[in-house]
């Protein structure tokens, strides 16, 4: 889908802050509110805007234990469907947060979230490794998130500028 300059501008703004009020968004892109609303709707319907979510720093949310792992998966692609079929088998599991096809030393990069290391270990040994096309897996547990999707967690965002300057 070929996007217009205004549409590109809208998704750039919403990608940074999905909660930008529609009237503010309309002014930023210099369009009437109704027209801006229509464009957003169109982008949503075309699944260019897939979902609006919040970026959570789970470390600060006490009372919820969780671990994230990135798993490098080597697989045998299948004739006719390539990597797509095995990728789909993997991403259908709800605990799998993302799946990417990679260039380089392995094929699929799988990000998985679980309540504990044991839970993830169980998933890898029982679900992932046992798939026919999976040759090997290497699991890396994430110890700390510093930056996610372009956003720095714990950003010192104080304004260091002097209050009034020429």
């Amino acid at each position: 889908m070929k996007l217009s300059e205004k549409e590109l501008e809208i998704i750039e703004i919403l990608e940074k802050d999905a909660r930008t009020p529609i009237d503010v968004l309309a002014k930023m892109v210099d369009l009437p509110v109704e027209e801006t609303e229509a464009l957003v709707k169109k982008l949503e319907e075309a699944k260019v805007i897939v979902q609006y979510t919040a970026l959570i720093d789970w470390r600060k949310a006490d009372g919820r234990e969780g671990v994230t792992a990135m798993i490098d998966v080597k697989v045998t692609p299948k004739r006719g469907v390539g990597f797509d079929e095995v990728a789909e088998r993997i991403y259908r599991f709800p605990e799998v947060k993302s799946v990417y096809l990679m260039s380089g030393a392995y094929d699929l990069s799988v990000v998985i979230e679980g309540r504990s290391m044991a839970e993830i270990a169980q998933f890898v040994s029982e679900k992932l490794s046992t798939l026919d096309s999976v040759i090997s897996t290497t699991t890396h547990f994430i110890l700390k998130k510093y930056k996610h999707d372009g956003i720095v967690f714990d950003q010192g965002d104080q304004d260091r500028r002097i209050v009034v300057s020429p």
């Binding site: 750039e12 802050d17 503010v24 002014k27 930023m28 209050v163 009034v164 300057s165 020429p166």
Partner: protein
């Protein structure tokens, strides 16, 4: 014989300079908590990490000595390439480019290099607060030409011509303009060029905000027909590259003038800070992407902020560049000073009263939109409340 006691040690010239009108607001705003400041004349971005990192690397490698007086040759070569690429003007990096401590120093050098006692320098008002005192300090006589909100602060060539006398040596043009955000149109530039040629004047073109132009391609004064030989082009890294604290600018001018500026610079300053020059080198080599991102971000905030000002009843033209909106507060019946002071005290929003930029700024306020969108929204909310109470 006992010498007579002096009344003051301060020179008459300096004693005669009027204090900056911004100072009072600075003191007032600094003493308050919870102030949203739209009075800041600098980007809200921190310098790109790649630039900071390059400068740190230069320190690690021990580049801590002086550079050539005119600045690192490598940097001057990059500046020459940048000016050619961006503004289609050609300068020789060896003899026609000087790296300075901010664009401010470049303006000071330009004025000191060309002014004979009593020479007149035309300043287009409203204007950046430093031009007038710098002209006075250089021994010249500042002459104001006014622009008005009705013309969206474009300079009227007829008014300019009327201000020219036989003592006129130069005109200072700042475009995109601080405080009005106005970008001089191509037609105005060409008219200025014709006058400069007819009356044999120099133009000091302060183009520090050139990177922050939102509509169309920017035309440099030096690129106007016949103007390369009579323009002192001044720019720097502060605004476009968000490097205000680095204090790094540059001047480009024909050999004879540039060498005169260099003469003063080598005695008064030696050279611009070395670590900042290495940062600037990285800025010109790899900084373009960040500049584009920042420009887009300012443009969106400008659109939001100016539309909102008009909506709440402060008429404002859409500024073509810089990061200032210069709305009229005439509908309120208050003076600029009264408006700014009451807005600060009653709603804790700091703006700069337009009159500090010259008499033609009266009836206006300068609001910088180089603040986060959340801050701008909050500021608009507070200003709306303030206006409703008047």
């Amino acid at each position: 014989m006992k010498p007579q006691t002096r009344k003051t040690y301060v020179s008459k010239t300096v004693a005669g300079l009027k204090p900056s009108g911004i100072r009072r607001f600075f003191d007032l705003a600094s003493s308050m908590d919870g102030v949203i400041s739209l009075g800041v004349g600098e980007p809200d971005f921190v310098t790109s990490w790649s630039i900071r990192e390059a400068s740190i690397l230069s320190l690690e490698q021990g580049y801590t000595s002086y550079t050539a007086n005119a600045g690192l040759l490598e940097l001057r070569q990059e500046i020459a390439a940048y000016l050619r690429r961006k503004f289609h003007v050609d300068y020789c990096p060896e003899t026609e480019i000087l790296v300075t401590v901010g664009a401010s120093q470049a303006i000071d050098l330009a004025l000191r290099a060309i002014i004979n006692p009593g020479d007149e320098v035309i300043i287009v008002e409203p204007s950046f607060v430093a031009y007038e005192p710098l002209v006075v300090l250089a021994g010249g006589k500042p002459v104001a030409v006014h622009t008005s909100g009705e013309d969206k602060f474009q300079l009227n060539p007829v008014h300019l011509e009327r201000a020219i006398t036989e003592r006129t040596k130069a005109v200072i043009i700042c475009s995109p303009n601080n405080p009005t955000g106005t970008v001089q149109s191509r037609t105005e530039l060409e008219a200025i060029a014709r006058l400069a040629e007819a009356y044999d004047l120099l133009v000091i073109a302060d183009e520090i905000y050139a990177e922050l132009t939102y509509e169309g391609e920017y035309t440099s004064m030096a690129a106007a027909p016949g103007m390369r030989e009579r323009t002192i082009l001044i720019s720097g890294f502060s605004k476009g590259f968000a490097m205000t604290g680095w204090r790094l600018g540059f001047a480009a001018a024909p050999d004879e003038i540039l060498q005169a500026m260099l003469k003063i610079h080598q005695y008064a300053m030696m050279c611009a800070p070395t670590m900042a020059q290495y940062g600037a080198l990285e800025a010109l080599r790899n900084g373009e992407r960040d500049v584009v991102d920042m420009r887009n971000s300012y443009r969106r905030r400008r659109n939001y902020f100016v539309a909102s000002l008009n909506e709440i009843g402060l008429p404002c033209h859409l500024p073509g560049g810089a990061f200032y909106a210069f709305p009229s507060i005439k509908p309120t019946g208050l003076t600029s000073e009264q408006f700014a002071e009451r807005l600060l005290i009653e709603e804790k929003v700091a703006v700069v009263p337009g009159n500090v930029f010259g008499q033609s700024g009266e009836g206006y306020i300068r609001c910088s939109y180089a603040s986060s969108l959340e801050q701008l929204q909050e500021a608009i909310k507070r200003m709306k409340r303030f206006l409703a109470r008047l």
